[in-house]
């Protein structure tokens, strides 16, 4: 593997990995996010009944 190959691989994977870690850290660390429940799992959507 050439030096240019190493650079391109490390920069590409490093950028994507850093972006992913940054995003998930923000999502999981934001209190609002973890408490952002909108609906209980057993929500009745009224659309499973026959018309």
């Amino acid at each position: 593997m050439t030096t240019a190959g190493w650079i391109l691989m490390l920069v590409s994977c490093g950028f994507v990995l850093a972006l992913t870690v940054f995003c998930f850290a923000r999502v999981l660390r934001t209190p609002k996010a973890t408490e952002h429940m909108h609906a209980p799992l057993e929500i009745d959507t009224h659309d499973t009944d026959e018309e």
């Binding site: 593997m1 050439t2 240019a4 190959g5 190493w6 650079i7 391109l8 691989m9 920069v11 590409s12 994977c13 950028f15 994507v16 990995l17 972006l19 992913t20 940054f22 995003c23 998930f24 923000r26 999502v27 999981l28 934001t30 609002k32 996010a33 973890t34 952002h36 429940m37 909108h38 609906a39 209980p40 799992l41 057993e42 929500i43 009745d44 959507t45 009224h46 659309d47 499973t48 009944d49 026959e50 018309e51």
Partner: protein, 555 residues
């Protein structure tokens, strides 16, 4: 209370259970077979590491901005009471014809599902066969795997899979088809979200396990010490100069076309799926960070997992002449002919082959699930169907299309027609229409306010100019170039077909046309129902938030 809330329909609509749930569902929708089979081969034959330069430019200029557009449009439509594309487009651009554009956002996921579910069944069947040791007798012979694949998918002639005994591919198709509809029937939260919260982390875990195995293989064949991990990574990532220099290579438009196309299809933009998923958010839910997180997850699977596994592992075990442009450029050749042979030669290959195809199956099912929800949402809100009836109707429509794909299996012609027209041409048209509607009809100022509502990440200001000017031009140029290259080749290909094969192509084109007309008629009916029930009132857009000057004047 905002207008969005007062205009909500009386019947409780579905919502996502958690924020992580919607992110994983969108990421699961985007992560599919293209990430693991298309991207690595495309990069390897288009300059290796050089490919990543136009790839990341396309991600920043095209992928992420269009993702944000779809998330924002979807949430906006959902806040005004619509989950289906026809309804969402009618509030985005209050005009008589706008809802008909939504037909594309229905036919695209439904049409792709008809063949994607079949490929998904191959993945599960291959995982099952690997686990049972069915491939042991092939002893890594690529030719044997090619014959197996051709017979397995019915390549030699039409109707091969539906004659005589029940074929393995058909059994797995039935299993996968039923699983998809079972999960859809359970609903958004209990079906799609619950499944994706389990399947996406499992997919990534399995991917990391396989990656660790590949990177620790060293030089697996003592007779070929030069085929080691270092050289394998080099085969994928070393810049391959093809036109006399890096700058000359970067000036090659085909390189940009390939990279942009990959970003475009990989992120599932223009499918009508993100639009539908985002519509289940609340009016003040964040879309900026959620959209970026889903995009990053997709990129992680594509670049960090597939980029380090698929082509490098093939290089380690296959002969150089096998890894030619034809194999690398075809997802089916790479995924179902070359790689099965690779795992057969690898230490503990039975285990890793099983894991690999199971991972592909997970990637595929989280995508196929998302393809059903947009049409279900339309049948429910447009035609007033209950969940059971809408699932049954969609099941019948997709089963008919799936049956055509399975029956007309010769050279996978029916699959190819659907993929070319529905899975490529229609997607370009819909994505372009969405970006133009959002940037020009909806207006960039309102778009800016809309995306910042509840945002947990500041969207850079230049993004709006990109969305308004750069993305539409970029999309139109790519589409024009793609048409210029592919349409003459397609026409030439059809001319060279036998009469029987030409009949298959015409039948599939007729099927697509009938499906499109069917959706247009249903949208017309839905429009009448919405007007009759007073829901056309929601076509009034959300009020533009007051500017600081206006707020000051009011106070």
């Amino acid at each position: 209370m905002s207008n969005a809330n007062t205009m909500r329909p009386a019947v409780a609509r579905e919502n996502w259970g958690s924020r992580l749930g919607v992110i994983l569902a969108v990421a699961g929708s985007a992560v599919g077979l293209g990430n693991f089979l298309r991207f690595p081969g495309l990069a390897a034959i288009n300059g290796g590491g050089i490919f990543m330069i136009p790839y990341f430019v396309s991600l920043l200029v095209l992928g992420i901005p269009i993702c944000w557009v779809e998330w924002t449009i979807g949430r906006y439509g959902g806040a005004l009471g619509f989950n289906s594309a026809p309804g969402i487009f009618s509030v985005l651009w209050p005009n008589r014809v706008s809802k008909y554009l939504g037909a594309l956002a229905l036919i695209i996921p439904v049409g792709i599902y008809m063949y994607y579910v079949y490929i998904e069944a191959w993945c599960l069947a291959y995982a099952w066969d690997y686990a049972r040791g069915t491939f042991a007798s092939y002893a890594g012979d690529v030719g044997a795997y090619r014959n197996h694949f051709n017979e397995f998918v019915g390549m030699p002639r039409n109707g091969l899979l539906l004659h005589g005994r029940l074929q393995e591919g058909v059994i797995f198709l039935a299993v996968v088809f039923a699983t998809n509809f079972f999960l859809i029937y359970r609903g958004l939260t209990r079906g799609i979200e619950t499944f994706c919260k389990f399947a996406v982390p499992l997919l990534i875990t399995v991917g990391i396990v396989i990656l660790v195995r590949v990177l620790t293989l060293g030089a697996p064949d003592p007779a070929r010490p030069e085929h080691n991990v270092n050289a394998a990574l080099g085969f994928m990532w070393n810049p391959k100069i093809q036109h006399g220099g890096i700058w000359k290579d970067l000036a090659n438009p085909e390189l940009w076309l390939a990279a942009s196309g990959q970003i475009f299809f990989s992120l599932s933009v223009g499918f009508g799926i993100i639009l539908n998923y985002a519509s289940y958010l609340k009016a003040d839910d964040d879309v900026a960070l959620s959209g970026l997180t889903a995009t990053a997850t997709n990129e992680f699977c594509e670049v960090c997992l597939a980029g380090l596994i698929t082509v490098p592992v093939a290089f380690l075990f296959l002969e150089p002449q096998t890894l030619n442009k034809q194999t690398l450029g075809s997802s089916f050749s790479l995924g179902f002919i070359a790689l099965p042979s690779v795992f057969a030669r690898m230490p503990a290959g039975q285990l890793f082959g099983t894991l690999w195809f199971f991972m592909l199956f997970l990637a595929a099912i989280t995508s196929s699930l998302s393809m059903l929800q947009p049409a279900i949402a339309f049948l429910e809100e447009g035609l007033g169907m209950g969940r059971r009836l809408s699932v049954t109707c969609l099941g019948m429509i997709t089963a008919l299309g799936g049956l055509l794909v399975v029956y007309f299996s010769k050279q996978l012609l029916a699959l190819d027609v659907l993929d070319f027209w529905v899975g490529t041409v229609f997607i370009f048209v819909l994505a372009t229409a969405q970006v133009i509607l959002f940037g020009w009809a909806f207006g960039i100022e309102r778009a800016r306010e809309e995306i910042q509502r509840g945002a947990e990440l500041r969207v850079p200001g230049f993004v709006w100019y990109v969305v308004k000017y750069v993305s539409p031009v970029y999309l139109i140029v790519i589409f024009a170039m793609w048409l210029r290259i592919n349409v003459p080749a397609k026409i030439r290909e059809i001319r060279e077909l036998t009469t029987e094969d030409r009949g298959t192509v015409l039948l599939m084109l007729l099927f697509i046309a009938v499906l499109l007309v069917f959706f247009l008629l249903m949208i017309n009916l839905a429009g009448k129902r919405w007007r009759a029930s007073g829901r056309h009132l929601v076509q009034k857009p959300l009020p533009t938030p007051a500017s600081p000057q206006e707020k000051e004047a009011a106070s």
